[in-house]
Symmetry: C2
Subunit: 579 residues, 2 copies
């Protein structure tokens, strides 16, 4: 088989060894996941501000495409909470909720996001996701959880509130307090209480009854299905929609339609930044789930191929009435725990959902939106783990600052600003830290060939020779710093004849740093002081050889610092020991 085919189509790998045992495991997992996904898909579509069927459609073709192109064996792709929220925030800026333009913008967003992911994958740029540091992601997910819960309160209360920031949401809720609908609150609060009890109370009880941990988890995950069934029956039996309870209503019956996303330059321009952010957040979330699950079975995933798998899934969503999707944590864990062995489990899930779309949609006519909102709230409150603030504070103020800024700005200004600010802060802090590298003046440890900081150790020094050990790569952010430092050092020292820069920890010298070294060399030369380098790493040396610098160097390059010391001090015992 051609290696490129094999790389881009992982299905050719696992598909060839597919057997009966795997089939039965995959089928069972698919049934369990399908039952869980029906209410979840409807709920996330509600969160994204889209008609309920969009959530189901977004779980059919995308799952199949991921099964073909993805590398994780257990990842379940579809709508997830954070991406649904980001979708609502992005397309809320270009169209009014409930209009045709709104649903069309969701398709365009999915297409752009898919295209961007595929592009990153083909160019093997998966490392870009690393620009989101762990703490920034943790802070962003926690803050998004709060935003999501706040955004769903309106469905639980039955009021027409809105907003994309915490302040706007709370404000709008307060303004509509007078319009709270009693029956809606009864259903919403009841469902929330029930679901919390299932989480906290039912699981320990099942375990106590001797049910295995995996099974107990799976049964617990079925809680939302029960809540949906019970509350739907309640609305139908007591005609609660006539008393102001908002229901899902008519959902078109049938397979996902073929949809064509709009491509007007205006729309593309407005959605570009959100599409990039959604892609990256979705990718990071998905890859970390996939990696966690793969590690449990000693399997590997390929992040660059994951980009292609997720990209294909999103493009699929764009053409079948869906919206941006990614690998979800809870659905993947259920899939894994239910015994899914290969991506075929995903394909069977898609089949199950397609059957649901064709046959079961009339059953959700009376399903109250308050129940869906309650399932979302209970699910996302599990994401809200603010302990990251405490943990980063204990370890590093810089990381803490990045998390705090991410959380505050996500809540105050929305998801896009929050995550962008988190990335900028992390990168800025890293650059700041490397902008003032540690530089130690070193001397020879007597009786050895080792050189150590003169301020920490009893070492030999020579008044005519200064050795500076540079503990960082030299590049534009710190180039000028070294220039200033050398200038300061020679301004202090009388009788100085030689300056040695010890490059043992210098992994790179960029063009700006080269210019700074040239400036240092020129100034030292004008003062009659030699500039020498020692312990220059191979790649750095190769690069320096490409330009004039070594020829113009007003001194020598020594392989080891000890060679430099012996040559420049003459190794004489007159070198004074420093107390």
């Amino acid at each position: 088989m051609h290696p490129l085919l094999r790389r881009y189509l992982p299905i050719l790998d696992w598909g060839r060894s597919y057997n009966r045992a795997a089939l039965s495991n995959d089928l069972l997992a698919a049934v369990i996941v399908t039952i869980m996904l029906i209410p979840q898909s409807l709920a996330y579509a509600l969160l994204a501000g889209l008609p309920p069927q969009a959530g189901i459609y977004a779980s059919i073709l995308p799952i199949v495409l991921y099964a073909i192109f993805g590398t994780s064996r257990a990842l379940a792709v579809g709508p997830v909470a954070v991406v649904s929220l980001m979708t609502a925030s992005a397309i809320g800026q270009v169209a009014e909720q409930g209009t045709a333009g709104y649903a069309a913008a969701a398709l365009t967003l999915a297409l752009m996001s898919g295209g961007f992911l595929v592009m990153l994958g083909v160019l093997r740029l998966g490392f870009l996701a690393n620009f989101l540091s762990h703490p920034v992601i943790a802070g962003f997910i926690a803050a998004s959880g709060i935003l999501i819960a706040a955004s769903q309160l309106r469905h639980v209360l039955g009021v027409p509130a809105h907003g994309h920031t915490l302040f706007a949401m709370v404000n709008s809720l307060l303004a509509h307090m007078g319009q709270i609908n009693g029956p809606t609150v009864a259903i919403g609060a009841g469902a929330m209480a029930f679901l919390f009890w299932v989480r906290k109370g039912l699981k320990p009880r099942l375990r106590a009854l001797g049910v295995g941990p995996g099974m107990a988890d799976t049964l617990t995950k079925a809680g939302p299905v029960l809540a949906v069934v019970l509350s739907t029956l309640a609305v139908w039996a007591f005609d609660l929609q006539a008393r102001g309870v908002a229901i899902v209503g008519e959902v078109p019956q049938g397979l996902p339609p073929l949809t064509v996303p709009g491509l007007s330059p205006d729309l593309l321009g407005q959605l570009l930044v959100p599409a990039i952010l959604i892609s990256i957040i979705g990718f990071v979330e998905s890859v970390s789930v996939a990696q966690t699950l793969a590690a449990r079975k000693r399997q590997r995933i390929d992040p660059d191929q994951e980009l292609i798998g997720l990209g294909a899934a999103n493009i699929g969503a764009a053409f079948t009435g869906g919206y941006p999707v990614t690998g979800g944590f809870s659905r993947s864990v259920v899939n894994y725990d239910a015994g899914a062995e290969t991506p075929a489990a995903g394909a069977f899930t898609a089949l199950g959902l397609a059957i649901a779309a064709v046959a079961l949609t009339p059953l959700v006519y009376y399903l109250p939106k308050a129940t869906l909102a309650a399932t979302i709230i209970v699910a996302v409150l599990g994401l809200v783990d603010l302990s990251i603030l405490r943990r980063t504070w204990a370890y590093s103020r810089g990381d803490f600052l990045a998390v705090a800024i991410t959380i505050v700005l996500t809540l105050a200004l929305g998801v896009e600003t929050g995550v962008a600010a988190g990335v900028v802060t992390s990168v800025g802090l890293h650059l700041y830290k490397t902008s003032r590298p540690h530089v130690a003046e070193v001397g020879l440890v007597p009786g050895t060939q080792h050189f150590r900081n003169i301020h920490r150790h009893d070492v030999l020094t020579d008044p005519g020779v200064v050795t500076l050990r540079v503990d960082e790569s030299l590049y534009f952010v710190n180039a000028r710093f070294l220039e200033d430092l050398v200038q300061d050092r020679i301004a202090r020292g009388g009788g100085l004849r030689h300056v040695i820069l010890m490059f043992s920890a210098v992994n790179e010298v960029d063009f700006s740093a080269l210019e700074s070294l040239e400036a240092i060399n020129r100034r030292l030369g004008e003062s009659g002081i030699g500039l020498h380098l020692s312990e220059v790493k191979g790649p750095v040396m190769d690069r320096l050889k490409m330009v004039h610098f070594l020829r113009e160097l007003n001194g020598q390059v020594f392989l080891s610092q000890y060679d430099a010391w012996m040559a420049l001090t003459g190794g004489r015992s007159g070198a004074a020991a420093r107390a």
Copy 2:
């Protein structure tokens, strides 16, 4: 004297030792600089799209304020070419050239820029300027020079063209080709030819006649004054303004007015990003000029105090009818070469310009704009040095890419996009390079305590012990890389019992990297493999001690790699030598 006063008011330093000799040197320099600055100020105001007097006003109070707060002895502050172009680009987006709103926006821009610079100075954030790498600045200046020259062609041709990108400018010029004014071209082209001759032909001739190099330079710099005088006389004598030659016209006679910049939130919002970019570009240009001149006399400048000096100058410009200013290269060099010894020379220059504003403005009534444009074109073509492309290409493709992107985007999309893209590219490339750090598997050099790369040296290894030397700080961008690398290595090795991470080149471990180390520790533990650290630097160790990691470490921390080797291999000679 209170040290804070001394820090913030460098004038208290040099002012106390001011004497008669310094006074006479400063006075002479001021006369020479004033004569040069009059046409230059008018020309840069034209470039910024402002009335001519704005250029003069921007050189009076700002110079005085810089003399009080600045640390450079020779820097001359006022309008400069690149900042004038950036000003035109920024305020062209909020108001129509020639309207009152346009001049008012220039004041607001100067105030914001000044406030931002003072803020950076007080917070000692001058290092932020380092985010602009040398090659990006060089590329930006070269591209700006091309843009400036292109923007001035319309005055030389006498056509009403416009635009802020090279394409728009050329397009607009071509569209107006039919309206070219003959007498204007005669004056503009004549002035350009004359000024080029002064640069290339006059200076060698003066040197041949025995004139010293400094004096020859200064006389050459007087070329624009001569061009201004001659062309003004020509317009007046032949009544050329009646034949379509655009002239400077009425310039208000008097001292700079007191102006109050507008502060509407809308305006502030629109000008925020341009103000920040102008501040940083101006600061970088100014500091590099100041550093070059200070180094010649073994003086030092304080970059953080420079921010305050330049900030004060800009705030001064905002309240006296000016626009954003900075330390200019050509005016500073003339000032230095003419013998300026202290910032008092600047104050005398300000006095000279004030006299000009009061008494001499009627003399420029007939001055043709084509002459001013010609002086700008000849001056900025000296900035266009595209050799940076060749030099970076020879040294490093990454630096070349940053320069090329800066130049292309500055020309194609304008100054703001260009410089922002340059910064983003440099930072991105740096992060990319550190995202895949060099990690070497090392072994013991026989008979020593040194460890070297097993692929490059004949070293002792042990099949049960793997040592990985990490040649980069560990932080969020490369944290996952290390995780993958260790996973790959243990997947290969049979019989592995211990993994040692040698941290001699690790200067930092951030929270993301800590989590990766925890994950590595957990996975190795599950496989029954010990994780050990060696040669951990003091600051890194201090930080690791603050969290649970060391307690949960599934192995030991060794002071030296040799200790680790001896302890884990038992120092037995059974360790196999590798060919």
